[in-house]
Symmetry: C2
Subunit: 229 residues, 2 copies
DNA sequence: ATTACTTAGTGTAAAAAATACACGTTATAT
DNA sequence: ATATAACGTGTATTTTTTACACTAAGTAAT
């Protein structure tokens, strides 16, 4: 057994997989890199962890610097540690995901010159990505496919007030299959975590649907009980 | 925005949470440390990743060095990255778990002087652990509680041939609750991934139970279908 | 105002799965 | 022979899942 004494010569990076929903398409937040390596390539928002911050804190900072977004709760899902995943040295990347409602309000403005721009890009229509980011993204998609069956991720993608058809669209997009409308409604209402509002949808051609809100209070009370799609 | 250029000054470590089942108790594999910091403390088998190995490879190597165990498939489940989790510098730890059948065959012999010894210790009766290892272990337990509902982890804990009562014990131990015998059997047999053998249990006082094998072939065919406890 | 269009919203019957529940059987040990 | 302790089994009830199609309501165009 050869004993190589390992030193403190690794870098640790964060990569953020942000899913967004604009009412019809599932999107991912990408940046266009302004630095080598992979200058001018599209990439997940990501950068190196600083020594005086935890990886969770780092994820928040990096997301903000590269996209301008702050206070986004992200969940860690995997650490990528292949030897040659970064051309400039040994970098372990810790990946996070989050779900985000889109709708213009949140500005996308990189604060760091590290990114030329940040942009929501349709998952179904992705460019070639830097590093192993396609792989990181694929693994993120797998994770949320599993987790959306048990966790209320869908409501993080939706605006505060939403219609049941919108909820169904999110599930269909993420799971990649069509669901029966009546059965879907029966099931999602059976969890009793949606509050029906007096209000109706506005600004649509054709019949307006009833709006609902996600009731976090009631959801938290469910804890322990499994919900399942 | 202060730009600190981060250097390659992190270390990355692996910690292994190995669950073992001896027929009645759920155990964890711990080592007694022979090095500072936390010399003489109990700890999860863990050490630093070398620069020329992936984190997955590293997990295999480290497990072998500290416990003598090789060819154990481990699954990564979380990266721990608090700033002060290691007293001697900035160390990010990537945690892995595995499930293991116990039964004396596998020798526990640290090959490295880093560990004085390795030992299976009852989960219900743990000593104080080094670093944040208690936290890492707790998170590992949570993970397997969730995953055993959908993945055939139980059979990794059991000998090749096992009785249905043993399978039930494993589920009860990990889930932390009693299950109904007839319903459990009905359900687990309904997945059709257990092969009933001609053979019966031997060396027990009282009536011997029929032995079963896990049929990996059939299990792999199930893929896509969710199995669920 | 009529019409055409599009999405909203609803119920039921059948099948499948989950649950609750108790006793005769069988191998061993004395 | 008997006592022991775990083995192995079935049914009725409830709950959940699935499959399936039409009317209602609002908008837009003529």
């Amino acid at each position: 057994m050869t004993e190589i004494t390992p030193g403190f010569d690794f870098a640790v990076s964060i990569d953020c997989v942000l899913f967004g929903f604009d009412g019809s398409e599932l999107k991912i937040l990408l940046i266009e890199r302004n630095e080598e390596p992979f200058k001018d390539w599209w990439a997940l928002p990501g950068n190196l962890v600083n020594k005086e911050e935890s990886v969770d804190q780092s994820a928040q900072r990096i997301l903000k610097e590269l996209t301008g977004l702050s206070d986004i709760y992200m969940e860690q899902y995997y650490a990528f540690g292949e030897v040659n995943r970064h051309p400039q040295g040994r970098v372990i990347s810790v990946a996070y995901y989050a779900m985000l409602r889109l709708g213009g309000e949140k500005p996308l403005k990189p604060l760091s010159s590290y990114a030329k721009k940040a942009q929501w890009i349709n998952v179904a229509d992705l460019p070639k990505l830097a590093f192993d980011h396609q792989h990181i993204l694929n693994k993120g998609l797998e994770k949320i496919k599993r987790r959306i069956k048990h966790l209320p991720l869908a409501f993080e993608l939706l605006p505060e007030k939403f219609t049941l058809t919108q909820v169904q669209s999110v599930y269909e997009l993420i799971l990649g299959k069509k669901l029966d409308k009546r059965n879907f409604r029966k099931k999602i209402l059976s969890f009793k975590v949606l509050k029906e509002l007096e209000e109706k949808q506005r600004g649509v051609s054709f019949r307006a649907a009833t709006l609902y809100k996600f009731d976090k209070r009631k959801y938290n009370k469910l804890f322990g009980k499994e919900i399942s799609f």
